[in-house]
Amino acid sequence: MSASGARPVGAGRRIPLAWAGVIPFLGYLGVFLLLPTGIVLWGAIRAQHGPGLTLSGLKLLVSPTVRFYFVNSIELSGITAVMGALLGAILAYAIATGNPDGLIRRVYIAGSGVLAQFGGVTLAFAFLATVGPAGILMHASWYFDYPQGIGLIYLYFQIPLMVVVFLPAIDGLKIQWREATANLGGSTWQYWRHVGVPLLRPAFFGATLLLFANALSAFATIQAWDNQIAYVVPQQINTSIISEVGLASPNEPQILALGMIILVAVVMTGYALLQRRTARWLR
């Protein structure tokens, strides 16, 4: 939009002040988004004794005590991401091959949208009532075991998220490609082997990475599942902020948070790259 086009007569020559309207919003973001992020980064590299900066905090990231939480986090996120992705892909395929206007498809899509966001404390209660020590379905002895107990609970929101993210990719497979394969004499197996799977692969891995990041930053569910022991990084961050006792270093929360930022940034970059590859053929 040209700056002079819509200016009313009589406004005269004013200094352009349109950008000033954005200042309150940017100020809000600055104080409650950028400043906290800056505080985390600054706290992680600031020297604990005396002035100056140090990278000794980063050494803490690979120390055995801190590594424990990161290994657990990656393990739990990895397992639930891969299983959620596989199961979610199967469910998405079952949805995609049905009637595009059918009731089942609509229910499952709406339901997935809801359940993908359904984490939190209530989810842990729901599973406590189902397979917990006094559960209705069974009294699973492994309910409080790590990672199978919490992994099962995580699948409850990972599978719907996979459906939400992956269904567009399956829907993007054109029927003409299958017909073209058949015309060239290809079998169903050859269609999947040479056409379907190679096309879906980047979308699948991208979605898996998204699920990984999703599980990585999840905190409420695992905290409500077992509030006695800290298994994963978010739990230890919470503990280290609240208690401030027995920490590996006074700035342990900041260093753990920095580790999370690095991990999520790597994963989300991979996701963005794969997403770009998918977008090439998916319209």
Binding site: V22, F32, G111, G113, Q117, V121, A129, A134
Partner: protein, 285 residues
Amino acid sequence: MASVAPLAAIAAQSGTAPDTRRGMRGAKRYRLNAFRYLIFCVFGLFFLVPLLAMARFSVEGTRPGQFSLSAWTQIPSYPGLLSAIEITLELALLTCAVILLLVVPTLIWIQLRVRWISRAVEFLCLLPLTIPAIVLVVGLAPIYNYIRHYNLSALQLFWVYGILALPYSSRALAAGLGAVDLKTLSEAARSLGASWLTVIWRIVVPNMWQALLNAMLLTTALVLGEFTVAVTLLYTNLQTALYYISRDTNNAGVLFSTSTGALVFAFMLLMILSYVGRRRRRRRG
């Protein structure tokens, strides 16, 4: 001629009445459908049973197998619970107000007058998705120490919740803004003598009320389920109140009744959302 032979063979193979939608023959289609319904049943049970179990627990009597509504009737009298529900609903209102009074006008203003900044703002709006709440809260702790010098109320959480809701609400708003022909509408209004405020309030907003509703519903759903920030900053909202109850008394019936109630409420919000979204898409298509 050689290339026609496979075609003819396929034509002969495919029989008299092929199911054209997925290019499959009857028997194959039948097998696929059997597989599909099996999948739907298994996953449907996996998704439904925990919810039903929670609902069943909420009407559990004193003796196993008995029904009782006591878990529901004690919600108002349970210590701290009602005030937590109240705080959470007020937080949802306040956060929606932030979105409506700050984010909506700013995003419209950017589209109208400061286009060159829109890419940067879009990036900033999506940034909270890549910074987990538990990371953000580490940096927020000193800021909230400062805020607590002036005000101790848990309602102060709305500042952060506005940020957490930003990715979802801004995407909903961007979809609404994209569907409006802003340039033509604003130029027409301006040429008729409307002020920029009038353009925003009486021209643009009425054209994107569905996007506004979407943004409000998403924001409310997020605030209702928020736990991480509240528990780490030691504030009490609905989720943290439930968490503290569960920590102290493991199987309190009130946990399950309140959770079921909150869940049904959130489900309703999100179902309305999906309904609104579908209607908009259909109209455009």
